[in-house]
């Protein structure tokens, strides 16, 4: 259990550093790939809903502390996302790439919708639909593409390990 927690912390820190230095520096007009969300989806997909929820809360709280103007925005949306991914995983075949990609897309959308709903309620952003179309949808697409490559790499190494 301790080993798992350490692996999660190390992965979160690595993704966070990559996100704020490498991906964060890209001044794209649309969204950006969200490494922390991808990590959360992979974590929840490979464990269960409880760990997905806890990992989502931990990652979200970290993002809130570091970047969000309001504590709890990311913590809530990512906890919910982690929980939903962990729940869905129980009902589908885990090794199916299409299921994983659909879950990634749905998780990105869910996270965006929950986040921007709260942000709109607290009057942080002016337009909810504008943010969903200009930020959440491209982010969801980028996340799916990245997840597909991760799945391919994982499959390749997995096969090599078997042989």
């Amino acid at each position: 259990m301790m080993k798992k927690i350490l692996i999660l912390i190390a992965s979160v820190l690595l993704c966070l550093i990559l996100q704020i230095t490498l991906i964060g520096g890209v001044q794209a007009k649309g969204g950006k790939p969200d490494l922390l969300l991808i990590l959360l989806v992979l974590w929840a997909w490979n464990t269960d809903w409880k760990q997905g929820l806890l990992a989502g809360f931990f990652i979200g709280l970290l993002e809130d502390i570091l970047f969000s103007p309001l504590l709890g925005l990311n913590a809530f949306s990512l906890s919910l996302t982690g929980f939903v991914v962990g729940e869905v995983k129980e009902r589908v075949y885990e090794e199916n790439v299409v299921a994983l990609l659909l879950v990634t897309a749905a998780a990105s959308l869910l996270n965006g919708i929950v986040f921007f709903s709260w942000a709109r309620i607290f009057n942080i952003f002016s337009s909810f639909l504008g943010k969903i179309s200009s930020l959440t949808l491209p982010t969801s697409l980028y996340n799916c593409l990245l997840m597909f490559f991760i799945f391919l790499i994982k499959g390749k190494f997995g096969r090599e390990k078997i042989h």
């Binding site: 966070l16 996100q19 704020i20 230095t21 991906i23 964060g24 520096g25 890209v26 001044q27 794209a28 007009k29 649309g30 969204g31 950006k32 969200d34 490494l35 922390l36 993002e63 970047f67 969000s68 103007p69 986040f115 942000a119 942080i124 952003f125 002016s126 943010k131 200009s134 930020l135 982010t139």
Partner: protein, 250 residues
């Protein structure tokens, strides 16, 4: 005497004939021998030459790399620093040089982190600029870093004026679109596309006269009190590196 002389000349002629016959062979042999020795020497030197060639190739690659990357980077950094120095000399404010160390992980909020904080003299609400113009303002300060709200963020509101007509308005970010909205400019104001927008200095937060951007689109409706104006910032937010925080004089 004549006969003896004639007889004496014969052996010389025969020798001469012999030489002239042998010489080409000798020369050919010598040439062959030299070539053979040269070949042997070359053969012996191949290893040496190969390693020398390899060293030179590596050296050339290294120089090419420096030429393509490092030297270009030095040249562009030099140009940038010259611009900054020029900018610093032009500014009547006290400036603290800062560097961008991190960006917001998503595109949700337009914020950056700078590598200096409270201990280096950075304070909340300090204005951040670069050679191109206004970048934003410090919203959170930590011991060795600070968070800067860019003028593109929706939460950013700045008092500005048109440099040509002196009409005033409020500049607000439009988030991910990369432009800002100029609000509260009356419909009768004669602002035009291309007009330069500068800070008005009203409110006391932003110093007066800092370049913010240019008007890129205007939508006028005679039935509306205010015009809808879009401003493209003068700062290229995709290439933020060295910045300055403006220190307020006390």
């Amino acid at each position: 005497m004549l006969i003896s002389n004639h007889k004496k000349d014969l052996p010389a002629r025969i020798r001469e004939g012999g030489y002239s016959f042998v010489d080409p062979l000798r020369i050919s042999f010598l040439t062959l021998k030299n070539r053979l020795f040269e070949f042997m020497e070359n053969f012996q030197e191949i290893e040496k030459l190969r390693s020398e060639n390899q060293t030179l190739k590596i050296k050339m690659e290294e120089l090419l790399f420096y030429q393509k990357n490092y030297y270009q980077e030095i040249i562009s950094a030099n140009q940038r620093l010259r611009e900054l120095l020029g900018f610093k000399e032009k500014q009547p404010y006290s400036l603290i040089p800062v560097e961008v160390i991190a960006y917001d992980p998503h595109n949700y909020f337009k914020v950056i982190f700078i590598g200096k904080g409270k201990k280096e003299g950075i304070e909340k609400e300090m204005v951040v600029v670069n050679a191109q113009g206004l970048v934003g303002r410090v919203i959170e300060v930590y011991p060795h870093r600070a968070k800067v709200l860019l003028i593109l963020d929706e939460r950013s509101k700045i008092g500005v004026r048109d440099q040509r007509t002196r009409d005033m308005g409020i500049l607000q970010g439009k988030g991910e679109k990369g432009v800002c909205e100029l609000k509260y400019v009356l419909s009768r104001a004669d602002v035009r596309v291309g007009d330069k927008i500068i800070t008005s200095g009203l409110g006391g937060l932003f110093p007066k006269g800092i370049v913010v951007g240019k008007i890129c689109a205007i939508k006028k409706d005679p039935n509306q009190l205010f015009q809808e104006i879009e401003v493209v910032p003068s700062v290229d937010f995709g290439k933020l590196e060295e910045l300055f925080a403006i220190k307020r004089e006390k």
